[in-house]
């Protein structure tokens, strides 16, 4: 776990942050390439067709550089993800440049999604997403092995159930 800013670790003191699987790195990179390479190729092709001279190479070079930087940052981005199941809420934090921490109380959970896109399936990973009544809630835990994902989902569901009964 990266300790880039101590204050994000101190809150709320007794939290046991759990990381997501490092296998998420290739998944993210593949996802990035799947979008980035066609875009870069398209831009280069357009430059080659309409702008003679050094432009195609320049465009291709820039695109490649951006992709490379993003790919290198992926590792840190993945390592920045963490979640912690506490007694009655779930904490999720992530972000390299912009740090985000979200706190979702179990009694506000509406439903839980477990999903996996083709790249995630290739590396045997899944994403757990919590939904509250608010559309702006940002609570996704990507890159969990399917067993962990299912376990998390079941625990969360059970806790949500218990909390609701307490109401």
């Amino acid at each position: 776990m990266s300790a880039q800013h101590p204050v994000w670790e101190t809150w709320p003191g007794d939290v046991d942050w759990r990381p997501v699987s490092p296998r998420l790195v290739p998944v993210r990179i593949l996802g990035l390439l799947a979008v980035g390479v066609p875009l870069a190729a398209g831009a280069t092709l357009a430059a080659w067709l309409w702008w003679p001279g050094p432009w195609p190479q320049l465009v291709a070079g820039t695109a490649a550089a951006i992709l490379l930087v993003r790919a290198l940052l992926t590792r840190r981005a993945v390592r920045s993800w963490g979640y912690a199941e506490r007694e009655d809420d779930l904490l999720i934090r992530h972000g390299v440049w912009t740090k985000r921490l979200s706190i979702v109380p179990y009694n506000r959970m509406q439903f839980i999604d477990v999903s996996a896109n083709p790249f995630q399936r290739m590396f045997d990973l899944a994403t757990v997403k919590l939904h509250t009544a608010a559309a702006t809630s940002d609570s996704t835990v990507p890159g969990l092995p399917p067993d962990d994902a299912a376990g998390l989902r079941d625990r969360l569901a059970a806790r949500a159930e218990r909390e609701r009964e307490g109401l």
């Binding site: 101190t10 809420d89 912009t98 979200s102 706190i103 608010a134 702006t136």
Partner: protein, 452 residues
């Protein structure tokens, strides 16, 4: 096919008495038989608008009139069929609405998720004493199945019944009867907005201030290049009409604004041509927004809005920031309305802590307006230098809390606290640029308060 096939309708009709042994069962109701005419007139306007002057010019007036008449008759027939196949029924704490001529649809509206009920009287309906009833349900993106049209007393009775059922009273039936006997309209409103204030406030809206500028540009254009005067004039007229439309619509919509508070809900009545009565249960309000528009400042006016988890209002403004509780008023009125809406605490008295000085690096203009306050049961945040906006969120309505920190904020050791509330409104429910420690402490305190 459908006209000769009344089977679905009769089936439902015969089904109803069989189930009538249930407690809350009511027979299947039809809408008022005059509704198709009102709907038909509406179609007629659409057709006329679609053909427009150009169409009339091309076809000739008599052919154009024939087309309008033909489409009008078709519209009336269709509306009558629709009316024939539309029905509603209360069943076991739920409202069932059956619609559809070609494709039958049975919609069940769970009343325990009812956010607000609005009784609306468009001009034509008002002339004949009819009204339509609209419901908002949690998570709905649009107003659920308007029942158009019902006689006004019936609509008001149904509203009372629905609101009572939505409270999930254990003895719903007896309570219903009592509620129906009591007058639905309290006689003395807590608040009436004077027409003069409303008009003046809308004249002070930012749109109207643009008009002189547009006029000046046109005059300048005319002086500069007389040949352009036609385009200038056309442009000015279009621009003026466009900018005038919204304030005028708002003034007409909020004309004769009255607020009637009751023990557990707010009732708002307003409208010049279209009379609307909206009832919002207090326990559904997720946030109260108080705004000080720049141009109103010398008058000392503010406006107050309330958000709920449904979709409220139909203007783009109300869609994003909630229904008006006070379209224009002084601070004392705002205080009263806001405390009623949140049942108790005085929102404007909550002490707000300003953002630290170094936040100016992130928000050079807005920094002085930023503020955040947290009480036993409220999260309050303020932002906006030009038109300050204060948002108060009851802690019990907060769905989740987020703390974010951008790159620049990290250098300055600042962070932003967001609270998420239900509903699709885009309210600034966030305290920007707080000290990191303070932000995290606030998040924790909110979290601890929502646990209760």
């Amino acid at each position: 096919m459908t006209a000769d096939d009344p089977a679905p309708g009769t089936e439902t009709d015969t089904e109803a008495p069989a189930e009538a042994a249930g407690v809350e069962e009511t027979p299947r109701h039809r809408l008022h038989p005059f509704s198709p005419v009102l709907h038909g007139v509406k179609t007629l306007w659409v057709v006329i608008a679609a053909i427009s002057w150009q169409g009339f010019a091309r076809f000739g007036v008599d052919v154009g009139a024939l087309i309008v008449l033909g489409v009008g008759v078709l519209g009336l027939v269709w509306a009558t069929l629709t009316w024939f196949y539309t029905g509603y029924q209360l069943h076991d704490g739920q409202l069932r609405i059956t619609t559809g001529v070609l494709i039958r649809s049975h919609r069940t509206i769970p009343l325990e998720r009812l956010q607000s009920v609005e009784v609306r009287q468009p001009l034509l309906a008002r002339l004949v004493g009819l009204a339509d009833l609209r419901m908002e349900v949690t998570g709905g993106t649009k107003t659920e199945a308007p029942l158009a049209y019902l006689p006004l007393p019936a609509a008001e009775r149904l509203r009372t019944t629905l609101l009572n059922l939505s409270r999930r009273l254990p003895e719903a039936t007896t309570e219903d009867d009592e509620a129906q006997d009591t007058p639905t309209e309290p006689d003395d409103p807590a608040l009436v907005v004077a027409t003069r204030d409303l008009v003046v406030s809308q004249m002070l809206s930012s749109q109207l201030v643009v008009v002189p500028v547009a006029a000046a540009v046109t005059v300048a254009l005319f002086v500069w290049e007389p040949d352009m005067s036609f385009f200038g004039l056309a442009g000015l007229i279009t621009a003026t009409a466009g900018t005038l439309l919204q304030p005028i619509a708002r003034a007409a919509g909020n004309y004769d604004f009255r607020l009637y508070p009751s023990a557990d809900s707010l009732r708002i009545r307003r409208g010049l041509t279209e009379r609307r009565t909206q009832t919002v249960p207090l326990h559904r309000i997720t946030a109260v927004v108080v705004r000080w528009p720049r141009l109103w400042r010398w008058k000392g006016w503010v406006q107050v809005r309330a958000a709920n988890a449904g979709h409220s209002g139909d203007g783009p403004e109300e869609k994003t920031s909630g229904a008006f509780l006070l379209p224009v008023g002084d601070l004392a009125q705002a205080r009263g309305v806001a405390s009623t809406a949140l049942s108790g605490p005085d929102v404007l008295a909550v002490p707000l802590a300003p953002a630290p000085k170094r936040a100016s690096w992130c928000a050079p203009v807005g920094r002085p307006a930023l503020g955040m306050g947290l009480t036993e049961d409220l999260f309050v945040c303020r932002s906006g230098r030009i038109s300050p906006t204060l948002v108060a969120v009851p802690l019990a309505r907060i769905q989740s809390v987020r703390v974010t920190q951008g790159r620049r904020q990290r250098w300055l050791r600042l962070a932003t606290v967001h609270v998420d509330i239900a509903g699709g409104l885009t309210l600034p429910t966030r305290a920007k640029h707080r000290d990191v420690g303070e932000a995290l402490t606030t998040a924790r305190r909110i979290r601890e308060a929502t646990r209760r």
